[in-house]
C-alpha cells in the first residue's frame, strides 16, 4: 500500500493541528474515563431519540464547526491582510477557502438551523416528538460523521482545494490529483443523505402531528418556514446526491461525465451543483426568516403583520429558488436569452423578500418594543440584509455582472446575505430559545456586548470588500502586490475579522458565565411569548406536554394568557415514548468507514462496510421494540417537580 497519499507534508500549521487533534482526543477519552461518564454519554446522548437532545447535539456540532470555519476565515484574512504575505502558500490557501465555504454552509449554518428545528418545531405544534424519532437519530449521525469525514481531510491526505463549488474540470482527477475532492464527494454525500431524511421527517411531523385545532394557517411562522424549507430539501438534495455520485464516478472509476474529452461536459457539473446550490441558500435563509418573525412578534407585543402574505411570499421564494441557478455563471457562455431569463427570475425574488421586510417593519410599528439581545440581532438584520439584497439585484443584472463576477464584490454580497440572513438568525434564535431548553437565560449584558462587537466588526470586515471588488480584486486570490492598492482596505477587513472573533468569544463566554451565575427561571415563559413551546415547563420534560394542548387561534399561548382560555383541557393519561437505540450511531460509524475507504480507493474495507450498512439496516427492520409507557403517576410527579413543588 502506498502510505504517502495519507500524508500531508511540510506545513508547521498542519503538524500543529495534528498535535492538537490528538491531544484533544486523548483529553476527551481521559476525562470521560476519569469522571466515569462513558455510560452516561452512551445512554443519554449517543443512543437518544429525543428530538430535544438531538437538536442540542446538532447545535453543539454547529458551534464546533463555527470555530473550525472561523479559524479558516482568520487564516485567509491574515494571509491577505497585507501585500505579499507569506503566511499560507497557494495550495494551502486553496484548501482553506474551500473548507471554509463547505463547513460554514453545510456543517455550521445547516445543522444549527436543523438543531433549532429539532428542538422547537415539535413543541410549537404541540407534539410529543417528531414523526420518526429513530430516523431523526439516523439523520443526525449521518450528518455528524459526514462532517467528521470532511474535517479529518486536512490532516489525512489533504483537503478539497477546488472551491466549495468544485467546478470541473478543475475538480477532476487530472487537475486535482490529491484525495481532497474525493473527501468532498463522499463527506457531502453522507451528510446529504442525513439531511434528506430530516426533510422527510419534518414534512410528516408538521403535516400530520399538529395539536388538535391547529389548522395550517394557525401554525407559528417558524413552523411554516421549516415546512417550506423541508419541501425544498426533499426536492433539491436528490440533485446534489446525483451530482456527487457522478463526481465520485468520474474521480474513482474514470467515467466521462465532466471530462474534457470523450463526450464529457464540464458545464453539466456547474448546472447540477447550482440546481441544488441555489435552493440551498433558501434552505438556510427561510428558517431564519421564521426565527425573526417569532422574535419580532414577541418583543413588539403584537401579532405578526401580514401573516398570510408572509406564508405566500415564502411559497413564492421556494418556487423561484429552483429557477435562478444559472445566475451563478452568467459569464460561462450560455447566451443572451438564457441570461435574460435568469436575470429576470433572480430579480423577481426581491419582490416576495421585500414583502417580508415590510411586514416585519409594520409589525414593529406602534409595538411596545423591548430591546433584548435576540431582538437586537433581529433589528440589525433588517438593514444589513437589505444591503445584501440590493447588491444581489445589482449582481442579478447579467450584463453588469460581467464587471463584478468572481470579484470581492460578490464575496461581500453573499456574506451580507448569509451572515445576517442565517448566522444572526441562529444566534438570535439561540438566545431566544436557550431558556426554554436549559431553564435559564443567557446574560443580557454580556449578550449585548457580544452583539455590538459582532455587528460593528461584521461591517468593518465585509464592507471594504465591496470597494475592493469594484477596484478589481478577484476572490480566492491568495496574495497581491503593493502596487494594486488593495493593501489598506484588506488590512481594515482583517481588523474587522479580529473584532468578529472577539464577539464570538464573548458569546461563548456568556454561555459559561450564565450557566454558573444566571438565575433559574421557573415558569417556562421568561419573554412573555406567544407560541406553544412556551406553554410547557423549562427545562422541557421528556414527553414535552403532559396533556396535548387544544388550539383555537394563532399564537395560541398568547390568547390563552390574555383571554384566560384553557390550553390543556384533557386529563393526564399514560404517555407512549420511543426507546433509545444505538443502531443509528453504529450506522453513522460504518458510513464513516465506508466513506473513508472509498476516499482512498480501499475496495475491500469499502465492500465490508457496505455489507455492514445492510446488516444494520436489517437489524433495524427486525427490531420489535415498540417503545414504552410513562405511567400517569410519574407524569404528575415530574410536573410538580418542574413547578417547584415538593413531591
Amino acid at each position: 500500500m502506498d502510505w504517502d497519499k495519507f500524508k500531508v507534508h511540510g506545513e508547521p500549521l498542519i503538524y500543529g493541528a495534528m498535535a492538537s487533534i490528538v491531544l484533544a482526543t486523548i483529553g476527551i477519552i481521559v476525562g470521560l474515563t476519569y469522571f466515569k461518564k462513558w455510560g452516561y454519554l452512551w445512554r443519554e446522548w449517543l443512543t437518544t431519540v429525543d428530538h430535544k437532545r438531538i437538536g442540542i447535539m446538532y447545535i453543539l456540532a454547529a458551534l464546533l464547526m463555527l470555530f473550525r470555519g472561523g479559524v479558516d476565515a482568520m487564516m485567509m484574512k491574515l494571509q491577505t491582510a497585507a501585500p505579499d504575505m507569506k503566511f499560507l502558500d497557494s495550495q494551502h490557501y486553496n484548501e482553506v477557502f474551500t473548507t471554509h465555504g463547505l463547513i460554514m454552509i453545510l456543517f455550521m449554518a445547516m445543522p444549527f438551523i436543523i438543531g433549532l428545528m429539532n428542538v422547537i418545531v415539535p413543541l410549537q405544534i404541540g407534539a410529543r416528538d417528531v414523526a420518526f424519532p429513530r430516523l431523526n437519530a439516523v439523520s443526525f449521525w449521518l450528518f455528524f460523521f459526514g462532517a467528521m469525514l470532511l474535517n479529518i481531510s486536512f490532516v489525512i491526505g489533504g483537503s478539497p482545494d477546488a472551491g466549495w463549488s468544485a467546478y470541473f474540470p478543475l475538480a477532476s482527477i487530472e487537475f486535482s490529483p490529491t484525495v481532497g475532492n474525493n473527501y468532498y464527494s463522499l463527506a457531502l454525500q453522507i451528510s446529504g443523505i442525513g439531511t434528506l431524511l430530516t426533510g422527510v421527517n419534518f414534512i410528516v411531523t408538521i403535516l400530520k402531528m399538529r395539536a388538535p385545532g391547529m389548522k395550517l394557517m394557525k401554525m407559528p411562522m417558524f413552523t411554516w418556514s421549516v415546512l417550506i424549507t423541508n419541501v425544498i430539501i426533499v426536492f433539491a438534495f436528490p440533485v446534489l446526491t446525483v451530482a456527487l455520485a457522478l463526481m465520485m464516478f468520474d474521480r474513482l472509476f474514470g467515467s466521462q461525465f465532466f471530462t474534457m474529452a470523450n463526450g464529457g461536459m464540464d458545464m453539466l457539473w456547474a448546472n447540477l451543483f447550482w440546481v441544488w446550490g441555489h435552493p440551498e441558500v433558501y434552505i438556510v435563509v427561510l428558517p431564519a426568516f421564521g426565527i425573526y418573525s417569532e422574535i419580532i412578534a414577541t418583543f413588539s407585543k403584537k401579532n405578526l403583520y401580514g401573516y398570510t402574505s408572509m406564508v405566500f411570499s415564502m411559497l413564492i421564494i421556494s418556487l423561484l429558488s429552483f429557477l435562478v441557478w444559472a445566475h451563478h455563471f452568467y459569464t460561462m457562455g450560455q447566451g443572451v436569452m438564457v441570461n435574460s431569463f435568469f436575470s429576470i427570475t433572480t430579480m423577481a425574488i426581491a419582490v416576495p423578500t421585500g414583502v417580508k421586510i415590510f411586514n416585519w417593519l409594520f409589525t414593529l410599528r406602534k409595538g411596545r418594543i423591548t430591546f433584548t439581545t435576540p431582538m437586537l440581532y433581529t433589528l440589525a438584520f433588517i438593514p444589513i440584509f437589505t444591503i445584501g439584497g440590493v447588491t444581489g439585484v445589482m449582481l442579478a443584472m447579467a450584463s453588469a455582472d460581467y464587471q463584478y463576477h468572481n470579484t470581492m464584490f460578490l464575496v461581500a454580497h453573499f456574506h451580507y446575505v448569509l451572515i445576517p440572513g442565517a448566522v444572526f438568525a441562529v444566534i438570535a434564535g439561540f438566545h431566544y430559545w436557550f431558556p426554554k431548553v436549559f431553564g435559564f437565560r443567557l446574560n443580557e449584558r454580556l449578550g449585548k456586548h457580544a452583539f455590538w462587537w459582532i455587528i460593528i466588526s461584521f461591517n468593518v470586515a465585509f464592507f471594504p470588500l465591496f470597494i475592493l471588488g469594484l477596484m478589481g480584486m478577484t476572490r480566492r486570490q491568495y496574495t497581491y502586490s503593493a502596487d494594486t492598492g488593495f493593501g489598506p482596505l484588506s488590512m481594515l477587513s482583517f481588523v474587522g475579522a479580529v473584532g468578529l472573533m472577539i464577539g464570538f468569544v464573548i458569546l461563548v463566554y456568556n454561555i459559561y458565565w450564565s450557566t454558573r451565575y444566571e438565575p433559574r427561571d421557573t415558569d417556562g415563559d421568561p419573554w412573555d411569548a406567544r407560541t406553544l413551546e412556551w406553554a410547557t415547563k423549562s427545562p422541557i420534560p421528556a414527553y414535552n406536554f403532559a396533556v396535548v394542548p387544544t388550539v383555537k387561534t394563532r399564537d395560541a399561548f398568547w390568547t390563552s394568557k390574555m383571554d384566560k382560555v384553557p390550553l390543556f383541557e384533557d386529563k393526564i393519561t399514560k404517555i407512549h415514548m420511543p426507546s433509545n437505540t444505538g443502531k443509528p450511531f453504529i450506522l453513522g460509524v460504518i458510513f464513516f468507514v465506508a466513506g473513508f475507504s472509498l476516499v482512498f480507493s480501499l475496495w475491500i474495507p469499502a465492500i465490508i462496510s457496505g455489507v455492514g450498512i445492510l446488516i444494520v439496516l436489517a437489524a433495524m427492520s427486525f427490531d420489535r421494540d415498540h417503545g414504552f409507557y410513562i405511567p400517569v403517576e410519574e407524569v404528575i410527579a415530574t410536573e410538580k417537580k418542574l413547578r417547584g413543588e415538593t413531591v
Binding site: F132, F235, V239, S255, F257, N262, G264, S621
Partner: protein
C-alpha cells in the same frame, strides 16, 4: 398503541399512517433523483465520442424480457397486498415470493446485458453517453437489488409474525416502492431503449 379498526391494517395506527405518508414524501425525493439522472442521460445521449451509440448497442430481446418480468412482478405485489387485506397469509407470501423471484430474474438479465455491453467495448469509461447510461440503469438496478433484500427481510418477518399492523405496514410500503421502480423502468424502456432503437 391505538388500533383503528375502520381502516385497513396497514393504516390502522397513527404511526403506520405516518410511515406511509412519509414514504410517499420519500418517493417524491426519489422522483427528483431519477428526474436528474434522466436529464443527465438526455444531455449525454448524443455524446458517444468514438464509442458505440445507442442503436449500435441496444437489442430489444433481453429488454423485452426484463420489462415483462418487472411489470408482472408489479402485478403480483399488487395481488400480495390484495391477499393481505383479506388476511390470506399464505397467498400473500406466495405472491410476495413470486415478486422477489421475478425481481431476481430481472437483475440476472440486466447483469447479462451489462456483461454483453462491456464485451462489445462499451464501458463506463468509454464515453459520456455510456457513463450516463450505466449510471441511470445501474441506479435503477441498485434499487431493485436493495428492494430484493428488503423484501426478503419483510418476507421472513411475515413468516415469523403473521399479518400484524407492523408487517402489513411494511409490506404495503414495500409495494409502493416496487411499483415506483416499475414506473421508472417504464420510462427507461420508452425513452432509453425504444427511443434509442429508432
Amino acid at each position: 398503541m391505538k388500533i383503528d379498526a375502520s381502516k385497513p391494517l396497514e393504516y390502522s395506527t397513527e404511526e403506520n399512517s405516518n410511515k406511509i405518508f412519509g414514504f410517499w414524501v420519500f418517493l417524491g425525493a426519489e422522483i427528483a433523483l431519477f428526474a436528474t439522472l434522466f436529464t443527465v442521460y438526455f444531455v449525454m445521449v448524443d455524446r458517444f465520442a468514438s464509442g458505440p451509440s445507442g442503436p449500435d448497442l441496444f437489442e430489444i430481446g433481453p429488454v423485452m424480457i426484463e420489462t415483462l418480468l418487472l411489470l408482472s412482478s408489479s402485478f403480483t405485489i399488487g395481488l400480495a397486498v390484495h391477499a393481505m387485506r383479506h388476511g390470506y397469509q399464505k397467498a400473500m407470501m406466495v405472491f410476495f415470493g413470486l415478486t422477489l423471484l421475478m425481481g431476481l430474474g430481472f437483475l440476472g438479465i440486466e447483469i447479462m446485458e451489462f456483461v454483453t455491453y462491456v464485451h462489445e467495448g462499451a464501458t463506463l469509461q468509454t464515453s459520456g453517453f455510456l457513463s450516463s447510461l450505466f449510471v441511470l440503469l445501474g441506479t435503477h438496478g441498485a434499487h431493485v437489488s436493495f428492494g430484493f433484500l428488503w423484501g426478503a427481510a419483510i418476507l421472513i418477518q411475515l413468516k415469523r409474525q403473521g399479518i400484524t399492523p407492523a408487517t402489513a405496514n411494511k409490506s404495503f410500503i414495500f409495494s409502493l416502492y416496487w411499483h415506483f421502480l416499475d414506473v421508472v423502468w417504464i420510462f427507461i424502456f420508452s425513452f432509453v431503449y425504444l427511443k434509442g432503437l429508432m
